[in-house]
Symmetry: C2
């Protein structure tokens, strides 16, 4: 198959089977900056969904954000959500709270027979993530994990090119995601990401997940073994322990991926896959604050591909709603998310051994 | 200090103190394609050296290449070299044989009181590399290891920028070097690089050295600990064992570097250093067949820097000769090379443990 077949219509929705439907009515649980600045506008711009309920720990905030947002009918508290308030006003729930609160909100959603889009990482431990999956299965509700990179055209085209064999067999992957959490994202040293009980870990769980999961996605394979080093020196990371991480993933067929992540380094990200016949690079790759780049070397030619930037979050919400409307199982289902949880648990375990050979 | 101070005169010889001198007369030991196509033309184009003697295992080849090369006075055999033939016709020796032959040729050079430029890796083992260093020290001859990346302007400017603190403190390094040895370099499955007795290893020793050594050079630091995975599936690599490798280096100050190398993947290389305040990327980085790229992100701006390509080999020969003429100790002395040998030994040891945690 020709390269041009894959690269033309770069931002196409290869998953879309229907033109109209819904809207799927969403309750958004957790009203941090991500929800207010990214998720709500994305849904407003979507084809298949609308936001009708907003849920916050703070009643005043819930009311204020609800009043300021078109289509939203209810601003309710966490307790009211658990009590089933306004349950008739939404069809599905987007859970975007601190990681350790995902399980109770998903449990309530399942009890209310609401489908769930749950932010990544799923929870703070494999055990709690497993409980989350089981509860959704028992209730017969759809569970999708919100990996926004799966909605990114550059990542979808990378996956297609690899799957079509245009780069030969994959051999090596290199990837990084870094940012300065306290300078670029949130200056508060008491934020939940730095509290291990609420986050489960700072760097592996919050951003190491991007190199890990996106590598899985583009290779269409899961890691079989892990090596890792975790380091911490800045005092704000003393409780969580992971400020910087380097990990190596081994995939079936001797494919090796080396990944790094830091919550205290210049904001930067890339994903590079080297095959026997070519190479592709997505850089910048993972930050929602930067555009994506897409470079391909193949058959002696290097192409730096420019394409229209799309809203990953809009694409993600529409994909989720489209699954619900068509009865399709989401790609990133609970089992998909559980693999990441298991790998990340192994990354922390491997790092805890601290067994690198001294030189 | 301003960025422009470092980037102006990008290809300048920051090490050069004299305008004229020599020429230092070189004997080149080993007449493979690298010597014929890269080294001899580089010296012809140099300021401070000339090639006067060529040494080969094959008397006919030695004579033919010698006759075809300006300035060369003698084409002699390996045995003749060891016997001191034409020793008055050269001042220094460039050793570019299979790795396991470096020691005997350096021993002879030292016995003849000739200074030595020895190709990397120094030898097939730490023990033999150490013997090589000791022999040069005992004889009072200068030993330099031929790391051509130290002569590359993009790498020298990267080192300067990091050293000046313009990227803040370094945090993470990602790097790769890959090529298809049997397709891009030499199709012969019986070549010396695939014979562990002659090479000491195929991928770590021959190209993994580039991410390792160039990271050391730009950081100005040496690794303190190592993790590694080595994999082999193609039968041509069965004897050496290392077809693909991934390794993580820990440097002082919690700096983590993840590196990959493969002798059976698309030709590609890059080096990316992420600091607290910025990032720089050299890509392509290490292949002599590709130009270098230099990209810098710093203070909110990303600069893709174009510069005139220089001959690394010419720069390297002139730097070596310049050291001899001025009495300066080469940066890449025997101790510098020994660090790589020790790290590579640890990479193989770490990989032999095969202790990655299963997922």
């Amino acid at each position: 198959m020709e390269l041009s077949t894959h690269l033309s219509g770069f931002t196409r929705r290869d998953w879309q089977a229907i033109e109209e439907g819904g809207p799927v009515r969403l309750a958004m649980v957790g009203l941090g900056w991500w929800t207010r600045e990214m998720a709500i506008p994305a849904v407003e711009d979507s084809t298949f969904c609308e936001t009708t309920v907003l849920v916050s720990g703070d009643a005043e905030k819930a009311g204020a954000v609800a009043r300021a947002t078109d289509a939203v009918e209810h601003g309710i508290t966490y307790d009211e959500f658990h009590d089933g308030v306004a349950a008739d006003a939404y069809d599905a729930v987007y859970v975007v709270t601190p990681n350790a609160l995902h399980l109770p909100f998903v449990e309530t959603a399942a009890d209310l027979s609401k489908d769930v889009l749950c932010e990544k990482p799923m929870e703070v431990s494999v055990e709690r993530a497993g409980a989350l999956v089981d509860r959704c299965a028992d209730a017969g509700v759809t569970l999708m994990i919100a990996y926004r990179m799966h909605a990114e055209p550059a990542v979808r085209r990378a996956r297609e090119l690899l799957d079509a064999g245009l780069l030969g067999e994959p051999v090596l992957v290199n990837s990084n995601m870094s940012q300065r959490l306290l300078r670029d994202v949130n200056p508060d040293p008491d934020q939940w990401r730095l509290d291990p009980d609420l986050s489960g870990g700072a760097t592996v769980m919050d951003i190491g997940l991007y190199p890990l999961n996106t590598t899985r996605f583009v290779l269409g394979a899961d890691p079989v073994a892990v090596q890792a080093v975790v380091r911490q020196s800045h005092e704000a990371f003393a409780d969580v322990g992971d400020e910087h991480v380097a990990f190596t993933l081994e995939f079936p067929g001797d494919v090796l991926a080396t990944c790094t992540a830091s919550q205290n380094a210049h904001q930067s990200s890339f994903l590079r896959v080297t095959g026997t016949e070519g190479e592709l690079s997505v850089a910048p790759a993972f930050s929602d604050r930067q555009p994506r780049g897409f470079e391909l070397s193949y058959g002696g030619v290097t192409v730096d591909y420019d394409f229209e930037r799309v809203s990953q979050m809009r694409e993600e919400f529409d994909y989720f709603a489209h699954c619900l409307l068509t009865g399709a199982e989401p790609y990133a289902d609970g089992e998909h998310g559980l693999v990441d949880m298991r790998v990340m648990e192994r990354i922390y375990e491997a790092a805890d051994r601290d067994d690198a050979l001294e030189v």
